[in-house]
Amino acid sequence: MQVELRGLTKRFGPVVANRAVDLVLKPGEVLGLLGENGAGKSTLMNMLCGLYTPDEGEILIDGQPVHFKGPGEAIAAGIGMVHQHFMLVPVFSVVENVVLGIEPTKRLDFLDLAKAREQVREIGRQYGLEVDPDALIESLPVGVQQRVEIIKVLFRSADVLILDEPTAVLTPQEVQEFFEIVRSLRDDGKAIVFITHKLNEILEIADRISVLRNGEIVGEGDPADLTKETLAEMMVGRPVSLSLGKTARAPGETILDVRNLVVLRDDDRMAVDNISLSIHSGEIVGLAGVQGNGQSALIEAITGLRQAASGTVTYLGEDITGVSVRKRHRMGIAHIPEDRLRSGLIADFTIAENMVLDTYYDDRFAQAGQVVWTRAERWAAKAASEFDIRTPSVFLKAGNLSGGNQQKLIVARELSRETKLVVAAQPTRGLDVGSIEYIHRRLLAARDEGDGILIMSSELDEILALSDRILVMFKGRIVAEFDAREAPPDKSAVGLSMAGMAA
C-alpha cells in the first residue's frame, strides 16, 4: 500500500504548522522523518492518522484520495500510529490492551480472548515481538510495553506504521533489538515512518530521509549521501557544531563526597545500595544507567529531596545529609530536575515567576515579606536574553514556550546563581539539536569555572560527550567506573555494564 501526501497544509489560527508538505510512503521502506521539536512532525502525522483534518492538500492511498473523519477511519484504511507516550491501560493484560476497542465477543457479549491471544502470539513469532499475552502491562519494562503498542497496530492489520520517537525510552541494547523489529516489519512489506530527532539513529535505520523545519520539507535524500553534519544543518537551519571541543582539565578540590549512602524508595525497597562517590571541582561526572536503577533516588538524596536511610553526604567539607532543599540551594547546589514540566517549572506561571522560583525569597528580590516583582522581572529579562530564551516577553506563561526554551529557562535559573555543584538530570531530554548544543556548552562553561557537575542521562551519547568520568549504576549500586578525561571509553563496554554485565 502506497500512501502519498500532497501539498498538506495545516494552520492553527495564525500559526502555520505544516505548509504544502509532499511525502510518499512506500511499502517495504523506512522513511526517516527528522525535525526539531515544533517543526511540525506530529501535526503532519496526526493528519495522516485522522486526528486532524488538513486545511489544504490531500492524502492518496494507492492513488485514490481519502478523507479521514477520525482515527477510526485511518485505522480501517491500514494506517497505525505508535505514540511516543504509550496508550496502554496499566492494570490490563497484554491481550486485553491489544483488543481494546475491537473486542472479539462470543454469544451474550462474553469476551473471546482465546483467539486474540493466539493472534498476539502469531504476530510475535512473525516479527520477533515476543511477549506473554497474559502479562500485566504495569509489570513489563518499557521496551516490552512498546512492543505491545506495535502489536496493537499490527493486530488491526496496519500496512503503514508511524513510529513517533520510538527510541526515546530505550537503552542502547534495546534500540538495536528494536531496529531488528523495524527491519523485519519493513521486509514484510510494511511502510514505516520513523520520526526522530536523533541523527545517528535515522542514518542507521532509514532507507530515505525527509527533514522538516518550520512546517516545511527542507531536505530529502538517501542516508548514504548524508552526514550527521548536513542533516543537523538542514534541521536547525544554520551550521551546528556537533563536537563540543571539550578540553581535558585537571580536577581540583573535592566538592561533593558521598559515603556509604543508602536511600529507600517510597515503598521502602532499596533504591540506592551503599554508594560512595565524589565529585571534584572542574569535573563532569556522568551517571549512566537504565532508568529505574536508583539514579533518581541518588540525585534526590544529594539535592535534599529524599532523606538518606544511612550514610553521609558531604559538601565542601560540611555534612549536609540532613539539610533542607532550600539550605542546599543557598549553599550553591544547583539542580536541573529530571522532568521539566512535572518538577522543573510551573507551566501556568510566567517566565519571570519561574525564573525566581527558588530565589524569590532572596534579598535581591524580596523585602519585608514581599517579592519586589519589578526587580525579579528585570532580572528575569536579563537572564532570558543571556540564555537565549526565545520569547517575546517574560510575562508569557512558561507553558507556552517550546521544550527547548523551557529547559533553557531552568538552566538559566539554576546556573545564574552562585554555584559550586550542578546536578543535572536528563538535561536535554526531548530537545532539539540547537538547544542540546547550547545547554551542553553552558554545562561545560560551568565546569571550566570550577564547578563540580553531576550529569544523569539515559542518553549514553550525552554522557560520553560530556563526562570526564563515568559511573554506571545498576540495581542501586555503582557497577563500573570509566575514565573519560582524555578520550571517551568504548560505548559498548559502558552499554554492557548498564545491563549489569561486567565490562
Binding site: 489560527g13 515579606g369 522581572e377
Partner: protein, 376 residues
C-alpha cells in the same frame, strides 16, 4: 560594547507587557456574564414549567432587580448579604490557589462567630475601640485554629482536606448546639439554645441609620474592602502568597524549589480559616447580635460558589460576592412582590456555577459572543 547594547535592548523588549489577551477577557468577563444570563433564562423556564404565568415571571424579575439595586434600602441589603460571602469567599479562594479544596468555611464561620460573641459579652466593660477589634480578632483566630486542624491533618498524615473539612463542619454544628446550652453562654432565662447578646460597644456600627433606622448596612463593608486588598497583596505580592500559588499550581515544582509543602498547607488553611472566621464575626457583630444553632445559614457553602465564580481572584470574589448578595436581597423582594419562592434564587445561583464550570457550553450557546478559533 555593541553586544552589550544588543543584550540591553533585548532585555528591555522582554519587559514589555502585552495587553491582556482577548481570550483572558472572554474567560473572566464574558463567560460569567453569559452564565448569569442563561441561568436567569433557565430560572424563568423553571417558573413557566411550574405554571407561573408570564406576567408573574416578569414581575418577579423586576422585583429581583428592585430588591437588589433599585433603592438605597435594596443596596444596603445587597451589601449586608454580600459582606460575609466575600469574606469567606476570599478565604476559600486563597485555599484554592494553594491547591486546597477547603469545604469547611461553614464550620469556620460558626467557630468565628461563637468566639466573637463570647469575647463580646465576656469583656463587655471594655470601650468600643478596643472591644470591637478584639472581637473581630477572636473570630479570625478561632476560624484559623479550626481550619488548621484540617491543615495539620493533611500536612502530617496526608488526610484529604475535603473529607476532613466536611467532617469538621458536622462537628461544628453540634459543638455550637452544645456550647449554646452552657450556662456561661446561654442567654439568661432562656430554655432554647441561644447565646447572650453582643453588647452595643462590640457591634459593627450601622453606617446609614442616621438616614433611616432600617438600613442595615454596617461597618463590615470596610472589613470587606480591607480583606480584598489584603488577599490581593498576599496572593500576588507577598513571598508566602507566591508559595501558595506555586504549591497550588505544581506541588512538585514547589518542593523542588525548596518550598516546605507541609508548612504552606497549614498556613494557607489557617489564613482561609481566619477570613471565614471573620465572616462569622461580621455576621454576629453586624447583623445577628447573638448566636443560635446554625446561624451560619449556609454562607460557607455559598462562599464556595462565590470563590469559584470569582475565579479565585480577590477582585473576582468581590464582584461574585456582590452578585450573590444582590440575588439574595432581590430574591426576598421577589418572594414578597411576586410570591415566587426564594428557593428559585438558590436554583439560579447553582445554575450560574454550572455554566461557569462549563465554559465550552456557554461558548456553544452564544457563539457570536466569542472570537472564533481553535479551542484549547
Amino acid at each position: 560594547m555593541t553586544l552589550n547594547e544588543n543584550l540591553d535592548t533585548a532585555t528591555a523588549k522582554l519587559l514589555e507587557r502585552a495587553a491582556p489577551g482577548r481570550a483572558e477577557f472572554e474567560d473572566l468577563v464574558v463567560v460569567p456574564l453569559f452564565a448569569v444570563a442563561v441561568a436567569l433564562a433557565l430560572g424563568a423556564l423553571t417558573m413557566l414549567a411550574t405554571n407561573v404565568d408570564l406576567a408573574t415571571i416578569g414581575r418577579s424579575y423586576v422585583a429581583l432587580l428592585q430588591g437588589s439595586v433599585g433603592s438605597l434600602s435594596a443596596l444596603s441589603e445587597t451589601l449586608t448579604a454580600a459582606a460575609p460571602l466575600v469574606l469567606a469567599g476570599l478565604g476559600l479562594a486563597l485555599g484554592f490557589r494553594a491547591g486546597l479544596f477547603n469545604i469547611g468555611a461553614e464550620g469556620q464561620i460558626l467557630m468565628g462567630g461563637m468566639a466573637a460573641v463570647i469575647t463580646g459579652f465576656s469583656l463587655a466593660g471594655l470601650p468600643f475601640p478596643i472591644l470591637l477589634p478584639l472581637c473581630l480578632l477572636a473570630g479570625a483566630l478561632a476560624g484559623a485554629a479550626y481550619a488548621s486542624i484540617a491543615g495539620i491533618l493533611k500536612a502530617a498524615t496526608g488526610a484529604h482536606e475535603v473529607i476532613s473539612t466536611i467532617m469538621l463542619n458536622l462537628i461544628s454544628y453540634r459543638l455550637v448546639d452544645y456550647l449554646l446550652r452552657l450556662p456561661f453562654i446561654q442567654k439568661e432565662g432562656r430554655a432554647d439554645p441561644i447565646s447572650k447578646s453582643v453588647p452595643p460597644n462590640a457591634e459593627l456600627p450601622r453606617l446609614l441609620d442616621w438616614l433611616d433606622p432600617n438600613l442595615r448596612v454596617h461597618g463590615g463593608v470596610f472589613l470587606v474592602i480591607a480583606a480584598v486588598i489584603f488577599a490581593y497583596w498576599l496572593l500576588f505580592r507577598s513571598k508566602i502568597g507566591f508559595e501558595f500559588r506555586a504549591s497550588g499550581a505544581n506541588p512538585d515544582a514547589a518542593r523542588y524549589a525548596g518550598m516546605k509543602a507541609g508548612l504552606i498547607i497549614v498556613i494557607a488553611m489557617a489564613t482561609a480559616g481566619a477570613l471565614a472566621g471573620l465572616a462569622g464575626a461580621n455576621q454576629v457583630l453586624g447583623v445577628l447580635g447573638r448566636t443560635s444553632p446554625g446561624f451560619s445559614a449556609g454562607i460557607g457553602f455559598d462562599a464556595i460558589a462565590v470563590a469559584l465564580l470569582g475565579r479565585s481572584h480577590p477582585v473576582g470574589v468581590l464582584f461574585a460576592g456582590l452578585l450573590f448578595g444582590a440575588l439574595e436581597a432581590g430574591g426576598r423582594q421577589m418572594q414578597v412582590d411576586a410570591g415566587v419562592s426564594i428557593d428559585l434564587i438558590g436554583i439560579i445561583q447553582a445554575l450560574i456555577i454550572v455554566f461557569i464550570a462549563a465554559p465550552i457550553l456557554v461558548r456553544a450557546i452564544f457563539p457570536w459572543g466569542f472570537r472564533r478559533g481553535e479551542q484549547k
